[in-house]
């Protein structure tokens, strides 16, 4: 079994909340090491308070067992994940599911005025004339915005 086989298998694991995107698309798999019959996978959560953490960890372990190997899933709690690690394919899948993908991280700290003004595109009609409704949303990773053009509220992934 090769490292590529493991990555392909992991790419089949859906995000527990937004199943159109996979854990690989999300960029939360940090490393794969094949060591004989054991496979070590380093995995980092998106948000620390994400209740899907255990579900993701168990799904990874199950997938590795299905490959006939012994899983060693390590949860890495460091600063290695940001929303910039979501792949281009992952971003497109989010948008197609009605979630506006996160804006790229800027060099300077985030400011409220930048979030309040338009420019964040509506995932439904593509218009940039949208406004911030709430910094927080139904899950830790999302804010709520409103499209002034198609008059549709939508969920905007936070940039972290």
């Amino acid at each position: 079994m090769t490292v590529d086989d493991v990555w392909s298998a992991l790419a089949e694991i859906p995000d527990p909340e937004i199943p159109t995107i996979s854990l690989v698309d999300l960029g939360v798999i940090r490393g794969v090491v094949v060591d004989g019959a054991a496979i070590r996978i380093e995995f980092t959560p998106t948000f620390l308070g994400c209740p899907a953490l255990e579900v993701m960890r168990d799904a990874i372990a199950e997938k590795v067992r299905a490959l006939g190997a012994e899983p060693d899933v390590r949860v890495v709690l460091d600063d290695s994940w940001s929303t910039d690690r979501i792949t281009p394919e992952g971003r497109e899948k989010l948008r197609a599911s009605g979630f506006a993908p996160p804006a790229p991280r800027a060099a300077q700290p985030l400011r409220l005025v930048e979030l309040q003004r338009g420019g964040f595109r509506c995932p439904y009609c593509g218009a940039g004339d949208t406004k911030l409704e709430n910094l927080f949303g139904p899950t830790p990773c999302r804010s709520v915005r409103y499209c002034n053009v198609c008059r549709q509220p939508f969920e905007q992934f936070k940039t972290i």
Binding site: L48, G49, L77, D79, R111, L135, F136, G137, P138, V144
Partner: protein, 216 residues
Amino acid sequence: MSARAQRLLELADDELILGWRDSEWTGIAPSLEEDVAFSSIAQNEIGHARALYELAARDLGTTADELAFDRPPDEYRAAPLVQQRRLDWAYTIARHWLYESADEIRLAGLKDSDDAEVAGLAAKMDREEIYHRLHAQMWADRLRGDPRFEQALEELWPSAVAVIEPDLRPRLATDIGLPLPSANLAVGERGETSDEFRELWEEMTIVRRSLPGATW
């Protein structure tokens, strides 16, 4: 207990207890938006507490759940600022702004720590905390000058100062724009356990106490 474990526990206890306090707004905040905001902030804070307890638990040979729920109330190290139950919006926003401002300073120090695990976790927490700070600042800007808000700030200020170590306090005073409490004024230092905290502890631990040792 090592100084590192002690520090992690202080931070974890602050985040856990504040998370519980924030969650007291779930369903009853002044607007639906704030209901969502405080519930989401609570979830983040409790997530931070879990990660911090896990790190401390490894040092102490225990588990995060045991640290979070199986200690007697006197062993918690949460700052008095987060122990207070405040079902008043002006006090809630004052506490939110003061805590997030103090926490920003504390996290900045931890991010520069030589301890790579602590520095990495602090940096990850800080990515999320920036949204708490934006939210707190938005409300503070809106309420500044309102007599009730100013009164809440004045009353909570001494216990806000006590959230961080003495050498970091002058920076907090500059950020908030209030003078440091004079040396002869009692500051609500860490380690004091209030009756309000004991009530919270009773509620927070009741399920685990009902079936000691159960696996969930």
